[in-house]
Amino acid sequence: MSEMLHAQNVAKSFTLHTQGSVTIPVFEGVEFMLSAGECIALTGESGSGKSTFMRMLYANYTCSQGSIKVLHDGDWLDITTASPHSILEIRKRTLGYVSQFLRVIPRVPTLDIVAEPLVALGTDRKTATDKARDLLTRLRIPERLWQLSPLTFSGGEQQRVNIARGFIADYPIMLLDEPTASLDVQNRATVLALIEEAKSRGAAIAGIFHDHETRDAVCTGSFDVTSFKVGAND
């Protein structure tokens, strides 16, 4: 399997200047690899830093040390040192991220929000919108809601809009933060199917899954972040 993402000797600490400049060490010496077609579950108890690590993989959080290299358009780029411009390019074409939060401008219709990542890639609006319709249908968002802003939706509906938006483009690497958290059985099955489809087209996936069933159903391996917690091996 071909390697898509490689984190080497990564460390992370937070310095809280507003609280007496206390420094909180989180990780040290993290080694993590992700290859095409695999889905790795990030594991560890609540508060162990799974989401923090995922945010580092997305360059949303900085790293205090080490490198995170991503295969982008055939070149290995280190997102810990890449320019903002390169990071935005990497996120646009290579690195997808489904977060737990939907952050959008009020008033923009759901259909446009879901289609946006494809439009940004240069796909014509009609094709992008058609694909957005397919995904929203599969995720059981009623058609009467498509022209409304998702900010008025329930938590579960917002989560599904987020998933539709995250899966509309065929990103080579995908990061999924609790994609099935507030979903019912049927919708969870749909998300599992979407993950399987992404795997079979060769996507490299890292995910945080709160339940064993989901993890067992789609993951090809797991990565315990607690083993890289500062002080874990003392």
Binding site: H17, T18, A59, N60, P84, L88, R103, R107
Partner: protein
């Protein structure tokens, strides 16, 4: 593609002093076509001073502002002749003020406000100007029948949208915005943000937007500069600066936002 990667604007060591007092100090950055740069910081941190110095409204004490002009290549805007600079400012650049009254002529019609910028660059055909003005009213979601009304009869949100239309009608490549959503209530703000984001994307505009509203900065800008006491203390990818701020002042700024 290579042209995309060439900076449209390059600011180097820009310093503006008011006597002994620092307006802004040693600011350097580049901006590419289609890129949106947010400048945040509290009142008095030098955001607006910086914006005025970059946009050729106030000559800086030190430093250079270079712009990739359409015809003459890269030029230092403060080395141009007054006539060249004026032409640049009313064609390739646009400035959206916080208060629409500062950017509009209140005693002529909405259509004339838009048409004026076209006439300033030599358009003389009344029918074309009127059609163009009408089409821009549509783009900023103002009904055609308001074309002949005075801006003073418009709501604050409509005035701000009219100011944007007036600015964008000449197809500028670089737009300066000083608190464009400042005096507007929340629902009007959302509409304006949506509109701005669409226009930035569709017209591939480079934008420098000064705001004290971090939510606005997050939704509109690709990169963020945080200013304190005239200096840029943190500069980077917008979500990185807001979610993992490194500088004590940025941490304070981010932790002071009310959650919603």
């Amino acid at each position: 593609m290579t042209q995309m990667n060439e900076p449209l604007l390059r600011v180097e060591d820009l310093t503006m002093m008011y006597g002994d007092r620092v307006g802004c100090k040693d600011v350097s950055f580049e901006l590419r076509p289609g890129e949106v740069l947010g400048i945040v910081g509290e009142s008095g941190s030098g955001k607006s001073t910086l914006l005025r110095s970059i946009s050729a409204q106030q000559e800086p004490t030190n430093g250079t502002v270079e712009y990739q002009t359409r015809i003459d290549g890269v030029r230092d805007v403060y080395q141009m002749s007054e006539a060249q600079r004026r032409l640049l400012m009313r064609t390739d650049w646009a400035f959206v003020h916080q208060n629409p009254r500062d950017g509009l002529r209140m005693n002529v019609s909405a259509g004339a406000n838009i048409g004026e910028r076209l006439m300033a660059i030599g358009d003389r055909h009344y029918g074309n100007i009127r059609n163009n003005a009408d089409s821009w009213l549509g783009k900023v979601e103002i009904a055609s029948e308001r074309l002949d009304d005075l801006p003073s009869t418009f709501s604050g949100g409509m005035q701000q949208r009219l100011q944007i239309a007036r600015n964008l009608v000449t197809s500028p490549r670089l737009v300066f915005m000083d608190e464009p959503t400042g005096g507007l209530d929340v629902s009007v703000q959302a509409r304006l943000l949506d509109l701005l984001r669409g226009l930035v994307h569709d017209l591939n505009l480079a934008v420098i937007i000064v705001t004290h509203d971090l939510a606005v900065a997050r939704l509109l800008s690709h990169r963020l500069m945080v200013m304190q006491q005239g200096k840029v203390i943190e500069h980077g990818l917008t979500d990185q600066v807001l979610d993992d701020p490194q500088h004590p002042y940025t941490q304070l700024l981010v932790s002071s936002i009310l959650q919603n």
